[in-house]
Amino acid sequence: MASTHVTKRAKYKTTIKDPGTPGTLRMTFEKILFVPHNPKSAGKLDVEFRYIKGQKHTKEGSNKPPWLNLTNNQNGSFIFEFENYSDLQECRDFVGKVLAKGGEVSEKPTVAYPDEQLSAAEMELRIKLLQEDSELQKLHKQFVLSGVLTETEFWATRKKLLDREASKKTKQRLGFKSAMISDIKPSTDGRTNKVTFNLTPEVILQIFAEKPAVHRAFLSYVPNKMSERTFWTKYFRAEYLHSTKNSIAAAAEAAEDEELAVFLKQDDILASEARKKIRRVDPTLDMEADEGDDYTHLPDHGILREGSKEMTESQNELYKRSLSQDINRHAAVVLEGRAVDVELEDTKAVAEALAQSKQKSSNKGESDGDTSRERLDRLSRMTEIEDLQGPNTLPLAPLCIKDPRDYFDSQQANALRSSGDALGEIKQIKCGLSTQEVYGSLRESISSIRAMGLKEPIVKPEVAHQVFDALTNSISNTKYHIGKNPQESVLDRLPRKTKEELLHHWTSILELLKHFWASYPITTTYLYVKVNRLKDAMSNIYPQLEVNVRKIKNGEVSSLNFPILPFLQLFCLIYLLYPSLIFLA
C-alpha cells in the first residue's frame, strides 16, 4: 500500500445544492478529517471510517464537477468537491481500499497464513468477491474467521469463481440497445432559439459505429483541427439539415463548409463495406445478382410509367439520406454487436478503440476463406424439406446451472407436468437397483471411457434429461407439495428470520460437507485434524437446527415432511458413518 493517508484540498457540502465550505480533507485508514480554511465556519468533520458504507463519485467527461459522495450507515452522506479529477481519483481509490479492508480486515484480526503467498491482485479479487456476495461473506466469516477452515481451503473449492473473475472473458458483454439512441432529440430552454443536445459516451459510440465517416472525421479533426465541441455542433447542424429533408439547402450548406459536407454526404466507407459484404451474402437472397441478369430492364427498356413502378426524384442524390437507410444501418450495427470493451468515459478513447477493433475484424474477414464453404452448407441445409426427411439429430447446448436453487425451483412446474404421476415409478426404479448392478454399470462406463476416451457429450442427452427430471421432482417437490399454491413455496410461509437462518444453515452445512467428503481418504494427520474440526463445526450447527425445527413445529407448520428433513437425514448419515470412516482411515 502506497500511503497510509491522503490529504487534499476540497470543499465540503452537506447537500448537493450547498455551495460548500473550502478546507482540507485528510483521510487515514481509521478516520476522515475535514478542517475548513476559515476556522470560524461550521463544517468541521471527524468521522471514523467504519461508519462509512460506500462511495459514489461523478464521472470525468460528464459536465459535473468532481464530487465524491461518501454514505454512512445512517444513510447520511458527506459530499466533497475537489479541484480536479486527479484529486478525486486518488481519494476515491483510497476510500475504496479502506472500505475493502473494512469489509473484512478491520473487523477481524488479520489471519496470516505462512503457507500462502498471495499477490495483491489476488487478494483484491477475493475481497471484491466477498463484497459482491453477502452470502459468501457470511460463510467466510463463519468458517475462516472461526478457524474451521483455512483461507486456502475455503477458496480451493471456489477456484472457478476466481478464474472467471480473473480472466473476465466469460463475463457476458452488453450489446447495443435495440432502440436508436443516436437519434437524439434536442432540448430547448423555451426562451431562446438555442437547442441543447445531450451526448453520452454510449450515444457517441453508437454514432461512431453507425456512421464510419463521422468516426473517421473525428479521428482526423479532433483535437487538431477543431475542438470536440465544434465537431459535435457541426454534426448536429448536419443532422438538422437532414431532418428538414431539404436536400437543396443541404447541398448549398455543404458547398460552403467542407467539414460540414463530410456529415452531409453519403458515407463512402459504408458503401465500400457494403460492396465487400454483398459478396458474402447468402446466394438465395442475392438480389444484386438479379440486377446483373436482367436484360429487360436495360436503361429505357421495359415499361417506365406503368402503375406498378415507382417514380423517384433523383435530384441532389448526393445529399439525400433516408430514414430507412438509417434504420437499416442501425439494426445492422446492433446485430454485429459491440466490438469495443472499454470504459465509456473518454470520447477519444472510444473512437480509437473502435478503430482498432475494426482493423482487427477487417483483417479477419480477409483471412478466412471458408465462408463460401459455410455458405454452401447453409444453403443445402435450407433447401431440404424438413418434414419429408427422416428425423435429424438435434444440436446440443451444454447446460450451465449457476444457481441450483433457482434452477430447480423454476423447473419444478415443468417437471411436474411432464412426468406427472410417473414420479412414484421413478423412485421405484431407483430402489430396484441393487448395489451390484450399480457397481457393474459404473465399471462398465469406466472401462468404456478408458477404451474410447471421453465423448462429447459425456452423458447421453436422453439419460441426462431423465436424471434432471427426477432431480427436479425430488429436490423441490416438498416445497410445492405442501404449499397450496404452486407459486408459493413453503419457505415463504415461515417468518423471514427463520427462513434466512434456515437457508444460511443449509449453505453452511453444504460447505462443510463439501470439505468433509473432500478430505477422504484421510491419509495425513492434517486431514485427520481437519475432519475433526469439520465434525465439531457440524455438531455445533445441529442444535441450532433443532431449535429451528422446534420453533417451526410450534408454529403454523406442523407437517413432518419439511425441508429440514434432508438436513437431519444427512447428519444422521454422517454420525452413523463417522466411526467407520475414521476406522477406514
Binding site: S178, D286, D290, E291, P299, D300, G302, L323, L335
Partner: protein, 758 residues
C-alpha cells in the same frame, strides 16, 4: 424413396412424400405423355420444385433414347440457386440408387456479371460495363490484334478456354453459379463461355425467364434448344408482365441526348476508317448488297443482344438500299432522333397506334416502315464493322434502334404514349415516349410454338382460366391443387378495424388519415410483442411505406417497435436491400427477432422466402392495386377488354389480389412450418375481393376471422401460436394422410389417391 407412376420409375430424394406432390407428378406425367402444355397451381409450401424436378428427370431417365432436356426458367438468380440446390439433392439421390447412368449435366446460366472470374473485368459497377469490359478483352478483332502486338491485353481465362478447345467440357454434375465460377477458376477457363457452350449438351438448364421470353436475349442464348425440350416457368403468376416488358421500350430526353452523342462518335469512327482502311466499310456494303445474313458465323464473343423483334417476324431479306452505306444510315438515325425529340416537346398526353406513328414518321422525317424494321440489325452490323468494344457507351442509340425496329414490325397489340410529366408529380417536367406492348401472348407465342411441352406453374394462378386467355394458348392439363394439412398451420385473418374500432384501409381517401396510420402502427406494435422471431410487413408502395414509417418515427411508435424487434426496410437500392435481408435472417437466427418492411410488387415480394422462423407472421397493409390513372395501364385495360373481353375492374382486382397472395404466400415452406397472415384493409372483407384469393388461403379463412379488430386479431394470434407450439403427429390422422411413406404409397392405388386429392 422410389415409386412407379404408370411406366416411369420416379426417384424422390426424401423418405416421405406429400399426397399433393404425388398428384402433381401424375398430372405432369400426363402432360409430358400428351406432348402438350399445362397450367398447374399448387400452394406454396408443398414442395413444388422438387416434385417437378424429380418427375421430369425420372421421366428422362426412363426414356434414355429421347433427346429430352429440361429448361427451367426462374424469375431471379437467387431462385435459380435454390432450384439448383434442390436439383443437387435429387441428383445425389439418383446417383446413389442408379449409379453412373443417372449422371446428368445441369447448369445455371447467367450474365457475365455473375459468372466472370477475371478480377479486372468483374470489378466493374454494373452489368453493361462488365459486358463491355469482357468484349474489350475477347472481341475477335482485339484478339487478332493481340496476336500481332503482345501489348494488347487479353483475358487469360478466355484464351485458356479457347486453347483447350473441345477438351473444355464440364464433367457431369449439378453446377450452381458459384460452382461454375469455382470450376472455371480452378481450370483457368472462362466460366461464362464454358457455360454458354455447355448449354447445348446439358440435360437441365436453369436460367431467367428473359433468356427465353425476351427476343433480345433469347436470340443468342436459346436458339439451339431442341424441340423436345420441356420448358418450365416456375412462379409464373407474373409471366404476363414479363412478356409485356420484354417488348416495351421507352424514350426519354436523356436517351435522345445520349443517342446524339453516340451518333457523333460513330460518325467520327466512320471518318477514321475512311481515312485509314476504307476497304472494311466497302466490304460491309457489299455484304449488305448481297443480302447476307448479318450474323452468320460470328464468333461467340462478338455478338451481343439480338434483334428485339420476335424471330418469326424478322424479315429474311436484304437490308434496304437507302441504309446500306454507313453515312446514309447515320443520316436516317439523325432524322429519327430529331423527330423523336420534336415529339417529346408536347404539352399534352398523346396516345397513338404504331401504324399512325409510322405514317407520321414517314411524312415528317421521310423514314419508311421497312427502313425502321432494319434499324437494329443495321446498327449491329455497323458497330461490328467499326470494331466498337465499349458497347456500354452505346446503349442509348441501341434503345432508339430497338424502338424503331419494334414500331416498324408490329401494327397491333402496341400503343405509343407520350406523356410530358408523371401524373403523380406534375410539377417536374419529364417527358417520356413509351412504346408499350399490351399483349402478353406475343412474346410467349414462339415458346409455345417451338417447344413440345411448356409447364406454367405457381402458388397463385387464380383464377386459373384467365391465364390461357392472357397468354393465348391451350393447355392439355389445367388444374389447381389444394393443400392437405396435418394441422391448421396457416392462419389467414382479415383485419378491418383498428384498436379504436374505426375502419382501416389504404383507400385513396383514407390512407393519409392519421387515425388509420396510427391504427396500423398499433397493430404492428401489438403483434411484435406477441409473435416470436420474424415478422414481415408489406405495404402497397414505396412512397406509402416511406410516409408511414416517417409518421411512426415521429409519433414514437417505431421506437416502441424497436424495443421488441430490430427493424429492417426494403429500399430501392438493391445492394442495401440485400444486406438488410441478410441481416434480417441473422437477427431471426440469433433469436433477437426482427421486422422486415417490404413493398408488394417489389423485388423482395417477388422471390424471397420468409419460411419457418424467418416469417411467423405476414401483415399485408392495404390492397396493392396498381396506380389506376397510369396511361399505359388504361391502354392495356382497354386492349384487354376489346380483345379478350376481360373487364377492367376484374383485371385490376385479379392483379391486386395475386400480388397480395404472393406476398403472404411466402411464409410457408412445408407442412411442418406454420405462419399467420393478416390482410389489414376493410376492403378484403368484401366478397368480390376476397374470392380472388387462391383457394388454399380461402379454405383456411374462417368466417369468424373475416372482420376483426386489432384486439381480436391479437387474441387469435396468441391462441394460434400456443397451438402451433405443441408437438403433433407429422403423418396426419388415420383417416386423412398428409405424409406418405413408400409402403403407404404402394398400398394406395391410383384411384384412391385421386379421391384424396380432389
Amino acid at each position: 424413396m422410389k415409386f412407379q407412376i404408370e411406366d416411369v420409375t420416379v426417384y424422390f430424394p426424401y423418405d416421405h412424400i406429400y399426397p399433393e406432390q404425388y398428384c402433381y407428378m401424375i398430372e405432369l406425367k400426363r402432360t409430358l405423355d400428351a406432348k402438350g402444355h399445362c397450367l398447374l397451381e399448387m400452394p406454396t409450401g408443398t414442395g413444388k420444385t422438387i416434385a417437378l424436378l424429380s418427375l421430369i428427370t425420372s421421366y428422362c431417365l426412363s426414356k434414355p433414347q429421347s433427346p429430352m432436356k429440361l429448361i427451367y426458367c426462374t424469375r431471379t438468380v437467387h431462385e435459380m440457386e435454390k432450384t439448383l440446390a434442390e436439383l443437387k439433392i435429387l441428383h445425389n439421390y439418383q446417383i446413389k440408387h442408379l449409379g453412373p447412368q443417372a449422371r446428368i449435366l445441369a447448369i445455371g446460366l447467367s450474365s457475365r456479371k455473375n459468372l466472370c472470374v477475371n478480377p479486372t473485368v468483374v470489378a466493374a459497377e454494373n452489368r453493361d460495363s462488365v459486358d463491355a469490359g469482357c468484349r474489350k478483352l475477347t472481341a475477335s478483332w482485339v484478339r487478332a490484334l493481340a496476336s500481332e502486338n503482345p501489348d494488347v491485353a487479353m483475358c487469360e481465362f478466355f484464351e485458356n478456354y479457347e486453347k483447350a478447345a473441345s477438351a473444355a467440357v464440364l464433367p457431369p454434375g449439378v453446377y450452381t453459379l458459384q460452382e461454375l465460377r469455382a470450376f472455371g477458376k480452378e481450370k483457368g477457363w472462362c466460366p461464362y463461355f464454358l457455360a454458354r457452350h455447355m448449354v447445348q449438351f446439358a440435360n437441365v438448364v436453369v436460367y431467367s425467364y428473359q433468356y427465353l421470353l425476351d427476343p433480345k436475349v433469347a436470340g443468342i442464348i436459346s436458339k439451339e434448344m431442341q424441340k423436345e425440350s420441356v420448358v418450365v416457368f416456375d412462379e409464373a403468376h407474373n409471366i404476363d408482365n414479363v412478356c409485356i416488358e420484354a417488348l416495351s421500350v421507352s424514350v426519354r430526353r436523356q436517351t435522345l441526348e445520349g443517342a446524339t452523342r453516340n451518333l457523333s462518335r460513330i460518325s467520327q469512327e466512320i471518318d477514321r476508317f475512311k481515312a485509314t482502311d476504307a476497304s472494311i466499310l466497302r466490304a460491309e456494303y457489299n455484304r449488305l448488297v448481297e443480302g447476307l445474313a448479318l450474323r452468320g458465323n460470328l464468333p461467340i464473343t462478338d455478338n451481343w443482344l439480338s434483334n428485339p423483334a420476335l424471330p418469326d417476324d424478322i424479315l429474311k431479306e436484304a437490308v434496304p438500299g437507302n441504309i446500306r452505306r454507313a453515312e446514309h444510315f447515320l443520316h436516317v438515325l439523325r432524322r429519327l432522333v430529331q423527330y423523336l425529340s420534336g415529339r417529346l416537346d408536347t404539352e399534352n398526353v398523346e396516345k397513338e397506334s404504331p401504324v399512325g406513328f409510322v405514317a407520321s414518321l414517314s411524312s415528317h422525317a421521310g423514314i419508311d416502315q421497312k427502313t425502321l424494321k432494319f434499324c437494329y440489325d443495321r446498327l449491329h452490323s455497323l458497330m461490328l464493322t467499326l470494331e466498337i468494344t465499349d458497347t456500354d457507351e452505346f446503349l442509348h442509340i441501341q434503345t432508339i434502334c430497338d424502338f424503331a425496329t419494334l414500331v416498324g414490325t408490329y401494327g397491333r397489340g402496341f400503343s405509343i404514349i407520350i406523356e410530358p410529366f408523371d401524373e403523380r408529380m406534375p410539377h417536374i417536367p419529364d417527358p417520356v415516349l413509351q412504346l408499350s406492348c399490351h399483349d402478353a401472348s406475343l412474346a410467349i407465342k414462339p415458346v409455345f410454338d417451338r417447344f413440345q411441352s411448356v409447364l406454367i406453374t405457381s402458388g397463385t394462378l387464380s383464377p386459373i382460366d384467365l391465364y390461357p386467355r392472357l397468354l393465348n394458348f391451350h393447355p392439355v392439363v389445367s388444374r389447381s391443387f389444394t393443400m392437405s394439412l396435418t394441422r391448421d398451420c396457416i392462419c389467414p385473418m382479415v383485419l378491418t378495424r383498428g384498436s379504436d374500432q374505426l375502419p382501416v384501409s389504404t383507400k385513396f381517401d383514407m390512407r393519409s388519415d392519421p387515425g388509420v396510420v396510427r391504427n396500423y402502427g398499433k397493430l404492428l406494435l401489438e403483434m411484435v410483442s406477441v409473435v416470436p422471431d420474424g415478422i414481415v410487413c408489406f405495404f402497397v408502395s414505396y412512397s406509402y411505406m416511406d410516409g408511414i414509417i416517417n409518421t411512426w418515427n415521429d409519433s414514437g411508435i417505431l421506437k416502441e417497435i424497436m424495443l421488441h424487434k430490430l427493424v429492417f426496410i426494403e429500399t430501392q437500392d438493391v445492394v442495401e436491400t440485400t444486406l438488410a435481408l441478410d441481416n434480417y435472417r441473422r437477427a431471426c437466427d440469433s433469436g433477437r427477432g426482427a421486422v422486415f418492411f417490404s413493398v408488394a410488387r417489389g423485388k423482395v415480394a417477388e422471390g424471397i422466402d420468409f419460411d419457418r422462423h424467418y416469417g411467423r407472421l405476414v401483415i399485408m397493409i392495404g390492397v396493392p392495386f396498381q396506380y389506376t390513372l397510369s396511361k399505359i395501364l388504361l391502354a392495356r385495360l382497354e386492349y384487354l377488354r376489346d380483345t379478350f373481353q376481360i373487364k377492367e375492374g376484374d383485371f385490376l382486382t385479379f392483379d391486386a389480389l395475386r400480388q397480395a397472395a404472393q406476398c403472404v404466400g411466402r411464409v410457408i415452406r412445408s407442412k411442418a412450418d406454420y405462419g399467420m397472415m393478416i390482410f389489414a384493409d376493410k376492403r378484403y372483407s368484401r366478397h368480390d375481393k376476397r374470392s380472388k384469393l387462391p383457394s388454399w388461403i380461402l379454405s383456411h379463412l374462417q368466417d369468424a376471422n373475416l372482420n376483426l379488430s386489432t384486439d381480436m386479431a391479437l387474441h387469435i394470434a396468441r391462441e394460434f401460436l400456443k397451438k402451433m407450439a405443441q408437438p403433433y403427429d407429422k403423418t396426419g390422422s388415420s383417416d386423412k394422410k398428409t405424409l406418405l411413406s413408400q409402403e403407404e404409397l404402394e398400398k394406395l392405388g391410383d384411384g384412391s389417391m385421386h379421391e384424396m386429392s380432389y
